[in-house]
C-alpha cells in the first residue's frame, strides 16, 4: 500500500460551509477585540487544552481507544523542551537550538505515545483506560521523585519560546496566533485523516476489529500508528503548554489534570474534531469564572454540576446538544426534512464508539 493512497482523503472547497468561514474569521479577528487576559489565558489556553483533547478525541472517537495518557505525552514533550532547551532553574537546560529542541521534544513525545500504544493496543475499553491511567500516574510519581533529570517537585521554570522575526512569541497576540496555527493545522489534519484510507480503516477497526483482522489488516500496527500520530498532536501542544505556563512541574501532569482532559473531550463531544475545542472553551471559562458566580467555597461544585448536566442531557456532549437544538429548530420549519436528517443522524450514531466510553 503506497503512502499516497493510504492517506488520500476526499476534501474539496465545496465542503466549506458559511458557518465554518464565519468561525475562522472570528478566530482570526479575536485578538483585535479581546483584552490580553482573554487572548492569552482564555483563548490560547483553550486552544492548547483543545489540541491535547483532540489527540484523545482522535484515539477515542476514531480508534475506540480512550487513552488517559495523552496529557502525559504532552507533559513529556514539555519536560523535554525544558531539559534540552533553556530554563532558569539551573538543572539540566542543555541549551540546544530552539528548532532542534522542538523537533526532538515532539518526536520524543510521539515515540513515547507509540510505546504506550504498543503496551495498551491489545486491550479494549475499560482495560485501555486502566493501563493508560496507570502509565500517567507512574510517570507523575517518577518525575516527582527523580531529581537528576526532572528536578522533582519543583520542576522547571523560566522556559520561554524563542524570539524570532523580531517578535516575542510569548506576547498574548503572537502566542494566540501560534496556538491557533498549531490547533487549526492539527484540526484540519485530523478531519482530513478521518476520511482518508488510514482513518477509515481505523474506524472500521474500532467497530469490528475481528472482521478487520480476518480481512488481513494488521490491527495492532494500525492502533500503534494511531498512537504515534496522536503523540505528534499532544507533543506539539505540550511544547505550547510549557511555553504558556513558562514552567512545568509534576503538578502540571497530575491525575487531576489528566482527568480534566478526558472531561474536556467528553463534554465537548467525541464525534467530531471540533468537540474537544468546544469542550476546552467551556472548561476554561468555567475554571476561571465559576468563582465569581458563586460562594468561593462552592465553585468546584458548580463546575462539576455543569459537566454532569451536559453529559446527563447529551451523552454526545455539547456537540450533541447543538445538533439536538438544530434538529428541533428545523422540525418547526420543515418536518419532512428533519425526518430525513434524523435518519441520517441515526446512521451516524450507529458508527459511534458506544461500547468504549459511554460506560465510563
Amino acid at each position: 500500500m503506497d503512502a499516497r493512497r493510504l492517506f488520500s482523503g476526499s476534501v474539496s472547497l465545496a465542503d466549506l460551509r458559511p458557518a465554518t468561514v464565519v468561525t475562522v474569521g472570528l478566530l482570526l479577528v479575536y485578538p483585535a477585540v479581546a483584552t490580553d487576559f482573554f487572548i492569552f489565558q482564555i483563548g490560547a489556553y483553550s486552544l492548547i487544552l483543545g489540541t491535547i483533547a483532540l489527540s484523545l478525541m482522535m484515539l477515542g472517537g476514531y480508534g475506540g481507544m480512550v487513552s488517559l495518557a495523552q496529557l502525559t505525552v504532552a507533559g513529556f514533550a514539555g519536560y523535554l523542551t525544558a531539559i534540552l532547551g533553556d530554563n532558569s532553574v539551573g538543572v539540566m537546560g542543555l541549551g540546544w537550538p530552539w528548532w532542534l529542541t522542538i523537533f526532538t521534544a515532539v518526536l520524543g513525545a510521539a515515540l513515547f505515545s507509540a510505546v504506550i500504544g504498543a503496551i495498551s493496543a491489545r486491550t479494549e475499553g475499560i482495560y485501555t483506560i486502566m493501563i493508560t491511567l496507570a502509565i500517567a500516574v507512574a510517570f507523575f510519581f517518577f518525575v516527582r521523585q527523580n531529581y537528576a533529570l526532572y528536578n522533582g517537585f519543583t520542576g522547571y521554570a523560566g522556559v520561554m519560546p524563542p524570539t524570532l522575526l523580531g517578535i516575542n512569541w510569548r506576547d498574548p497576540a503572537p502566542f494566540y496566533y501560534l496556538s491557533l496555527a498549531v490547533a487549526g493545522g492539527f484540526f484540519c489534519a485530523v478531519l482530513y485523516g478521518s476520511r482518508a484510507t488510514f482513518g477509515l480503516s481505523l474506524q472500521a477497526i474500532r467497530d469490528n476489529p475481528r472482521r478487520m483482522r480476518a480481512l488481513g489488516y494488521n490491527v495492532t500496527l494500525h492502533r500503534i500508528v494511531a498512537y504515534f500520530l496522536a503523540g505528534l498532536i499532544a507533543g506539539s501542544a505540550g511544547v505550547l503548554m510549557v511555553w504558556f505556563n513558562g514552567r512545568i512541574s509534576p503538578g502540571s501532569i497530575g491525575v487531576g489534570v489528566v482527568i480534566d482532559i478526558l472531561v474536556i473531550a467528553v463534554v465537548g463531544g467525541m464525534r467530531h474534531p471540533i468537540g474537544p475545542f468546544v469542550g476546552a472553551i467551556a472548561f476554561v471559562l468555567l475554571e476561571n469564572f465559576a468563582i465569581d458566580l458563586i460562594d468561593r467555597e462552592r465553585f468546584n461544585t458548580v463546575i462539576g454540576l455543569a459537566f454532569l448536566l451536559i453529559v446527563l442531557f447529551s451523552p454526545d456532549g455539547l456537540l450533541g446538544l447543538w445538533s439536538q437544538m438544530r434538529s428541533k429548530i428545523r422540525l418547526g420549519k420543515d418536518a419532512r426534512a428533519s425526518a430525513g436528517r434524523a435518519e441520517r443522524d441515526d446512521r451516524h450514531s450507529a458508527g459511534s464508539p458506544k461500547g468504549t466510553y459511554k460506560g465510563t
Partner: protein
C-alpha cells in the same frame, strides 16, 4: 467567547477612564488561597484572616471602600499562576494578597516581576527563596518564613529534651525543606544527628503512611514531622494506630489548630509535642487575646483558635490597609508611593512588632510552644518561650547566610 471578551473590554475601558481612584471609589484587593486540594482547610482559614483585617478597618482604607476579590489555587504553582493572572489581568487588582503554599510563592514572585505596577503581599507562603534569592521588588512578605518559624526549636530539643538522633518526615517541596533546614541547622551545629537515610519525603496529599511508618528507624530519640493539613492528620492517626511510641517534634503546621482542631484519636498522643511558629494559642497578651476574640466572634464555625494561616493573611492584609491609609489610597503612580510606604511600615501585630528588612522580608517574634490540653478539653499550643525579632538570616550576615546554600533535601547534611 467573543461576547465575553467585548464585555470585558468595555469594563476595562470604563476602569481606565476613571484612572486614579477618586475618593469613595472602591479599591480592589485580590486574595489568593488554596480553596481546593489537600490544603483547602488551611486556605479557608487564610481567607478568614483577610476578612478579619477588613472588618477591623470597616472595609475602608485611605478613604476608599475596599472590594475583595478572591481567587483559588490547589497548591500547585501552575494553578497559583493562573489564579493570580486572572486576578491581576482580568479583575485588575492593584494589590494582591497570597499565596498560601511554599512553591506557589516562588512562582508568584517570578510572575510579580512581569507586573511592576501591581503590589504583591505574601499570604503564608514560607519558602526561603521567595524573598532571599532573586527577590522581586514589588513582592512583600510581612510574615516570617519557614526557617524563621523554627527559631529556637533545634536548641530546645537538644538541650532541654536531650534528643541526639532524629528521624525526619516531611512533605517533598520547598516549604518543608525550609522548615527542616531551619530546625536542623542549630540542632546539628550542637552535635545532633539526622542523616539523609533517616529523612523521609512524601508527596503532598499522601494518604497511606504505612510504608513510611514501617521504615522508620528504631534507634532514634524522636521523629521530626513537618506535614500540613490533611497530611498531618492522616499520619498522626495511622502512626497512633500502628502503635508508634516515639515522641514527636512538630513543624509549624503539624500541631497547629488546623490539625489539633480535627476530630480523631490522635489527642493524647500529641500532647507534649514541642514545636515553634509565628503564633502561640495561649500567649498571655492583650493584643493576641483581642485577636482571638475577634476571630471567634466573626467566625463561630472557624477553628477554636485562629491558625497561623488566619494570622499570616491577617497581618499581610493589615499591612496592605495601613499602607493605603498612609498614602490616602493614592495608587495613581502605579503604586510607587504605596510600595515605599509598605517598605518603611512598622506596626504592632497580635504577635508583637513586625518590620521589613532590605529584601522586603519580615522580622518578627517567634514562639516556642508545646501541645497541652486546654481547660475546655481542646488541644492548645502553650507558650514556652518567645524568641524576639528573628531575622531571615537567623542572626548572621546576609553574605554568610547565603553560604549555607539553598534549602534542599540534603541541607544541612548532618550525618
Amino acid at each position: 467567547m467573543i461576547g465575553l471578551g467585548k464585555t470585558t473590554l468595555a469594563a476595562v475601558a470604563i476602569l481606565s477612564l476613571t484612572g486614579p481612584a477618586f475618593a469613595g471609589e472602591p479599591i480592589k484587593i485580590g486574595a489568593l488561597a488554596t480553596l481546593e486540594g489537600a490544603f483547602t482547610v488551611l486556605g479557608e482559614d487564610g481567607m478568614r484572616g483577610v476578612r478579619l483585617a477588613l472588618e477591623e478597618f470597616g472595609n475602608m482604607a485611605g478613604g476608599h471602600a475596599i472590594e475583595l476579590i478572591t481567587g483559588s489555587s490547589d497548591a500547585t504553582p501552575d494553578s497559583a499562576i493562573r489564579a493570580t493572572r486572572k486576578l491581576v489581568e482580568q479583575n485588575g487588582v492593584p494589590i494582591l494578597i497570597g499565596p498560601l503554599s511554599g512553591s506557589e510563592g516562588l512562582a508568584v514572585k517570578d510572575y510579580a516581576k512581569t507586573q511592576p505596577n501591581v503590589t504583591f503581599l505574601n499570604g503564608t507562603s514560607a519558602a526561603q527563596d521567595t524573598t532571599l534569592r532573586n527577590a522581586a521588588d514589588n513582592f512583600f512578605r510581612f510574615g516570617t518564613d519557614g526557617a524563621q518559624w523554627m527559631a529556637g526549636l533545634g536548641e530546645y530539643v537538644y538541650n532541654e529534651k536531650g534528643y541526639r538522633n532524629l528521624a525526619v518526615l516531611a512533605e517533598d517541596y520547598s516549604f518543608p525543606y525550609t522548615q527542616v533546614f531551619g530546625f536542623l541547622e542549630p540542632f546539628c551545629r550542637l552535635g545532633g544527628k539526622a542523616p539523609a537515610d533517616a529523612r523521609f519525603w512524601v508527596p503532598i496529599g499522601n494518604k497511606d503512611y504505612s510504608s513510611v511508618i514501617a521504615a522508620l528507624p528504631d534507634d532514634v530519640d524522636a521523629i521530626y514531622v513537618a506535614l500540613g493539613g490533611a497530611d498531618a492528620v492522616n499520619f498522626l492517626t495511622q502512626y497512633e494506630q500502628a502503635g508508634g511510641e516515639l515522641p514527636l517534634v512538630g513543624g509549624s503546621i503539624t500541631v497547629d489548630q488546623t490539625v489539633l482542631g480535627s476530630k480523631g484519636r490522635t489527642r493524647e498522643f500529641v500532647i507534649g509535642t514541642p514545636s515553634a511558629g509565628p503564633i502561640s494559642d495561649t500567649w498571655d497578651n492583650a493584643g493576641w487575646q483581642a485577636f482571638v476574640d475577634a476571630y471567634k466572634t466573626q467566625f463561630p464555625d472557624g477553628f477554636p483558635s485562629p491558625s497561623l494561616f488566619a494570622h499570616g493573611y491577617y497581618i499581610n492584609t493589615k499591612a496592605a490597609l495601613l499602607a493605603l491609609d498612609a498614602v490616602d489610597g493614592d495608587l495613581s503612580d502605579g503604586g510607587v508611593k504605596y510600595r515605599a510606604a509598605l517598605a518603611s511600615l512598622e506596626f504592632e501585630t497580635p504577635t508583637g512588632m513586625v518590620r521589613l528588612d532590605e529584601r522586603r522580608q519580615a522580622i518578627a517574634d517567634i514562639f516556642l510552644t508545646e501541645v497541652i490540653e486546654g481547660p475546655d478539653g481542646g488541644l492548645l499550643n502553650k507558650t514556652i518561650k518567645v524568641i524576639p525579632q528573628v531575622s531571615q538570616t537567623l542572626g548572621v550576615s546576609y553574605e554568610e547566610f547565603l553560604n549555607y546554600g539553598p534549602v534542599s533535601r540534603e541541607n544541612p547534611t548532618c550525618g
